[in-house]
Symmetry: C2
Subunit: 219 residues, 2 copies
DNA sequence: GCAAGTCAGTTGGAATTCCAACAAAAGAGG
DNA sequence: CCTCTTTTGTTGGAATTCCAACTGACTTGC
């Protein structure tokens, strides 16, 4: 467990917790670490989970199989990040997604009930952990809401403008860079890459936008 | 405060908490109730909030103004339901939405820091509250993720099938009823009502679906 | 019974997106 | 410098959606 302290220190879940407090905290939570081989199933759709996972090393993939067996990739989760936390904390009876190890991976599992249960010694780092957890889920919530804001627009042009203006506001100015390449941006906004590319060109031609690679400027 | 106990008893946030525990709990949380008149602003975009709200009576509306002042309604919140909880718990620096009272309303405000802070007496209902909060935010998370699942499909037909099959799975059978009328369903799926109506007709004609009003059956 | 209102379905042309294929530009590596 | 690969931009026809308007069924209130 010691060897993973460096990973845990950098995670949002353990943010603000002193290194010295890790040992008692982890034993208080009764965490367990498990090694998975590449391709091995971590969670399967339909089961009920009480624990969520933290990736220590490697990578896992969250997959959803829809009504006729078409699977779509919801996310790839790398070191320091969580998976299954919403389902574990919501107490959902049947997991609608599956999780598979993409590489050989070390995973940490934390029981959601134990996270929120009062610990026998009133450790204040335990409270910090709860705050962090609530913040993580809330931030994800905000990100999802914002994504819906963008993708619910009807045209590619409106989706782009909604996204770009939100990025501009976030950057606090008209110049900003985005964390996507064109294909990733198209996927994020649920549009065609080529149509989006064409629309970006039109926006530039009509003088509302400058861009070069990932650098944008709204005019 | 006493007169609102009936509302609070029925809320998800206070689920599982004994009526006798309400008084000490509410004073431990240092909640405050405020009356707003119709049309009055509760939260304004740009401010930083530490408290979230619970509607006791009346109704509030969550509004987002986009880059050129076009406002869109994100939600109407009625008695027993929360608003602003994601932003308060995430510690966002600038609220991207505004909240306005739709009717004369009594609102309860709870400080997010106080919610997660350990209380001096180790009240176990306090822990129950934290669990409830985490569950609420997580469930919202799941609902948002699912909505994205549907709306990110490219065609109206695929959006419909994704939604309807998820509803069928949730109902545990092929027959189910949906909580929307046509216009609401179209808004939820971000499609045109008339195009959706046409697509529903095609699906019925091609024999994959029966429906009558809100009653559906997948074949 | 009748008028007004709401809701669902239908239709046709305009607008937009999708798709596939190709071209151009930028890097990476030898 | 050359080749291979990745990324981005462009284009044209097919497919889909959007929009506006209309019809018909049903409800409500008088």
């Amino acid at each position: 467990m010691k060897k993973y302290l460096n990973v845990l220190k950098g995670t949002a879940l353990f943010r603000g917790i002193e290194e010295a407090d890790f040992e008692p905290l982890l034993s208080c939570l009764q965490v367990r670490t498990v090694r998975y081989e590449k391709g091995q199933a971590v969670f399967s759709g339909g089961e009920r989970i009480r624990e969520f996972g933290v990736v220590l090393t490697g990578q896992v993939q969250v997959i959803q199989d829809d009504y006729y067996g078409n699977r779509s990739i919801l996310a790839n989760i790398g070191p320091g990040n969580l998976f299954g936390e919403s389902f574990a904390c919501a107490g959902a009876d049947a997991l609608p997604v599956g999780v598979t190890a993409l590489d050989a991976s070390e995973l940490l599992f934390i029981d959601c009930g134990r996270l929120t249960a009062p610990c026998t010694r009133a450790c204040d780092f335990h409270n910090r952990l709860i705050q962090n957890m609530l913040r993580i889920v809330s931030m994800k919530n905000i990100a999802l809401t914002q994504k819906i804001e963008f993708t619910s627009r009807r045209t590619t042009r409106e989706k782009l403008l909604a996204y770009l203006s939100a990025e501009a506001r976030r950057a606090g100015g008209s110049r900003f860079s985005i964390p996507f390449n064109r294909q990733e941006l198209a996927d994020y906004l649920s549009v065609e890459r080529s149509a989006m590319s064409a629309e970006l060109g039109k926006l530039r031609d009509s003088g509302v936008l400058h861009f070069h690679k990932n650098e944008f400027e709204l005019l």
